[in-house]
Amino acid sequence: MNKLISIDEAINHIEDGMTVMIGGFLAVGTPEKLVDALVEKGVKDLTIIANDTGFVDKGIGKLVVNKQAKKVIASHIGTNKETGRQMNEGELEVQLVPQGTLAEQIRAAGYGLGGILTSTGVGTVVEEGKKKIEVDGVEYLLELPIKADVALIKADKVDKKGNIRYNKTAKNFNPIMATAADIVIVEAEKIVETGELDPDDVMTPNIFTTYMVDGGAK
C-alpha cells in the first residue's frame, strides 16, 4: 500500500460540504501547502474544525477569506478579522468551544468514547443546550465527540509506512485530529524510509495515516 500521493491527489478527496479538521495553533503546525491547494481547488460549504482561524494571510484563515467555510468550530477567532466580520454579518456560523474541551471532544471521537464530563464552561454560555451530570456533588457538562470526514495534519517527519513525528509546538491539535477523521492526510516536511523512526519515537502510529504528501523542507 503506497500512501504517498501528490498534493493534488490528496485534495481530490475533499468535496463541497465536507467536515474538515485542520491542525495548527495560530498557524504554527498548520499544513500550509494542503491549505493552499484547498484554496486553489475552491471547494465550498466546508465545516472547518480547528483551534483557531489563523490569520487572513496565514494558516486556516485563508479558507475563511476565500469564503469556503459555512461553519467554523474553534476556540479562538480573534486573530482573523474576516472570521468575525463573516460571523457578524451572518455569512458564517461560528461555534466557539473552550480549547481543552475541543481537544477532548476530538480525542473522544478518535478513541471511541461516547463523551466526556468536564467542569470547564459550567456557569457560562458554554453550558447552553448541554446535558449536565452531577457526580459526587460536582456539576459537569457532558461534551460529545467531534469527528470529521477529513483531517489535514502537519508533520515534521513521516516514514513511508505513515508513522508520524511532529516538531516542538507544531504538535498542538495535529496528533489528536489524526485519530478522528475518515481520511487523514499528512503534509510532512520530510518523508523518510520505513525503519528510520524508532518505534518509541513515533508520535502517531502509521495505522492512522491514510495518505501523506511531501511538503518539502522550508
Binding site: 473552550p98 481543552g100 468536564t118 457560562t124 516542538k168 509546538t169
Partner: protein, 219 residues
Amino acid sequence: MDKNQIKELIAKRVAKELHDGDVVNLGIGLPTLVANFIPDEIDVTFQSENGFVGLGPSPKEGEEDKDVSNAGGQYVTIKKGGATFDSGVSFGIIRGGHVDATVLGALQVDGEGNLANWMIPGKMVPGMGGAMDLVVGAKKVIVAMTHTAKGSPKILKECSLPLTAAGQVNLIITEMGVIEVTDKGLVLKELGPEVTVEDVKAATEAELIISDDLKTMEV
C-alpha cells in the same frame, strides 16, 4: 505612575505569589511580564497551553524556530529540561490541577469570584481560547489588571459580561491593591503605593472588606 510603571508594579507583585517548584501559566499581555520578576533563587516552570513546559525568553533575532511559539503566537524558546506535548496533554495538565497558578487579565471580576474576560457581546467576540479551562483547572487563579478601565470600576458587585468561569478567582492584584476573594466577600489585604483605602473603595463597585492586617503592597 505611567502606564508602564503600573504594569511593572502589578507584575512584580504577582511574581511574589509564586513559589519554588510552581507550575505557572501566564496569560497574554500584562501577565507575560511576570516572568521577568521571578527571583533567581526560586525555580518556577512556565506552562504554555499550546503545548509545552519550560517557557524560556524570546529568541535573538534570526534565531527563531518556526515551530516554537507561545500561546500568543510569538516566537519563544524552550528551556533546557522543558518538554513538549499535544493540546490534549496540555489541557489535561491544566484541567487536572497540575498548574499551581494561572495569571490572567480581566474585563470584569466580582465579589463571588466570577470572571469575565473573553467577550463583549456585539463588539468583541474573539473566543475563549484556553481561558475557561485555565480558570477552572488551575489551583490558584490570579487576576492581574489595572484597577479601572477608562475610570470605570472593573471589580463589580456582579459581572455584566458573559462569564469565563463562575466563582474561580482567588486573588486580584491591581496597582491599587491586593484583594483576596473569600467566602465572606472581597478582602483588601494590601494597599497600593500612593493610594488610600478611600481611593480604592471609590474605584471599586463591589463591597470591600478591609483586612485588620492591611499592609502596604511590597514589590
